[in-house]
Amino acid sequence: MYVKQISVFIENTPGRLADFTKVLEDAGIDLVSLSIADTTNFGILRGIVADPEKARETLAQHGYTVKVTDVLAVCVPDRPGGLAGILEKLAEKNIALEYLYSFVRKAGDHALIIVRVDQPEEAVRVLTDAGIKLLSQDEVRAL
């Protein structure tokens, strides 16, 4: 129950990000979710798209270095402490969180977050056992 995330290396020079979004737009690729981790020199842009393989190919053709990674798309219960509950479940099992970011779109009444952990299989089991819904690639595509 993973979702494919594309990660793209972006130099921290003016216009790079604009160029990147233009490439996706021209190819008709819609970014469903986006986050940027940056350092002084470079940024790693992470995003969820409907068709990650097409996005990878298109970006590679335009000279971008792209990596596709499995991440979890987690439905966060819409009540106080919803997110904390999920993180606690992972922490209890010593599953380390690499990063997380939220979705722009919602799945029904639920907020959505993208979670990258060091033990994805274990994380899927823990969260599913706790009754937390994870979205599949198809469900993300349908958003």
Partner: protein
Amino acid sequence: MEHMIWNPTMECMPRDQLRALQDDRLKDVVRRVYESVPFYRDKMQKLGLTPKDIHGVADIELLPFTEKQDLRDHYPYGMFAVPQSEIVRIHASSGTTGKPTVVGYTSGDIDRWAEMMARSMYCANIGKNDIVQVAYGYGLFTGGLGAHYGAERVGASVIPISGGNTTRQLMLIQDFGSTALCCTPSYALNLAEALQAEGITETKLKSGIFGAEPWTEAMREKIEEMLHIDAINIYGLSEVMGPGVSVECMCKQGMHIWEDHFLPEIIGENKESLPFGERGDLAFTTLTKHGMPLLRYRTHDLCTLTDEPCACGRTHVRMGRVMGRTDDMLIIRGVNVFPSQVEHALLQVEGIVPQYQIVVERQGTLDTMEVQVELSPEFMSDTVRDMEALERRIVNSIAAHALVHATVKLCQPGAIPRSEGKAKRVIDKRML
């Protein structure tokens, strides 16, 4: 191992006979430049020399040096030793600053160059049964035409595709069944990666002759492993002739300098001619060139020479890999740094393809060195931690190999500008 030798009489000549031949040819070239090139006549007269004072190679230190600047000062034709009517070809080297240096060839020069490139082809086991893809640039640059004439001379089928257009290169490698490749080592790596990206594992390639830029043993290993070929190092410079001044044989233990045509010297810091084995600045006297002969031309390539016998049977001296350039040696906070050391450091960090550029700046009184490295796809990670670890590994490797602290900046592929397949390795902003 079976060694193909194009001209055994000359290439395997006993060293005492070779020396006698060089003595005669040196006297001849000195006489020719004295009579026909005002620059050399003036220089010799100022030194109180006439051609009669030069009896052979033993007198080489009496003769004046030639610097690249001398060629620029006599731009375009001032160093030619024959009338224009005798010149059949003109090449020019891309000057990094200002005017290029211009070289003229007589038909005899072109013939001798083809002969030396034919020897070079045989050195790399390339003969008439081969299909040679020449992916060096054709034009003012000597690489393309030099390789072309040599491959034709041995009777190979030559594909004069020139540099660039990787998609087309891959197509011809597959469809034309190229067995040998001539280009810069960085472009060879480029092609190897492109083949890999296309999922092409089988080609008919067996040999490659690579030169026109410094490279390392690590790079050779990578090219050989990726393309399943013997990667042979070739050396040359347009001022002296072009590619084929020296080339490795299949022993891959240094490049044989064709000493019946060139007299090499290693020049020390006090401008003395050093014995074999010592490291210094490589200089050439052209013994048989007629269009633009040169006396003791300083290449500013740092290397060593050896006259130890080679297993291939050739007697001509071998030069080691160029370890750097004495004129683009960088001094960073008192440390001598050669771009080749940085390249070596990059290669040690597993998998890094050396498209890189060194940028030196002065901030206040402190010199800073930044090494920009294009990121290879296999090193891409979705976490900042991994990418920063990669930067740190490169910083540490440079510190270990070049003994200098550099900052490292990862760049997107293609971010470092290239010209004729070569990336400009050093940008020294301190001089601007």
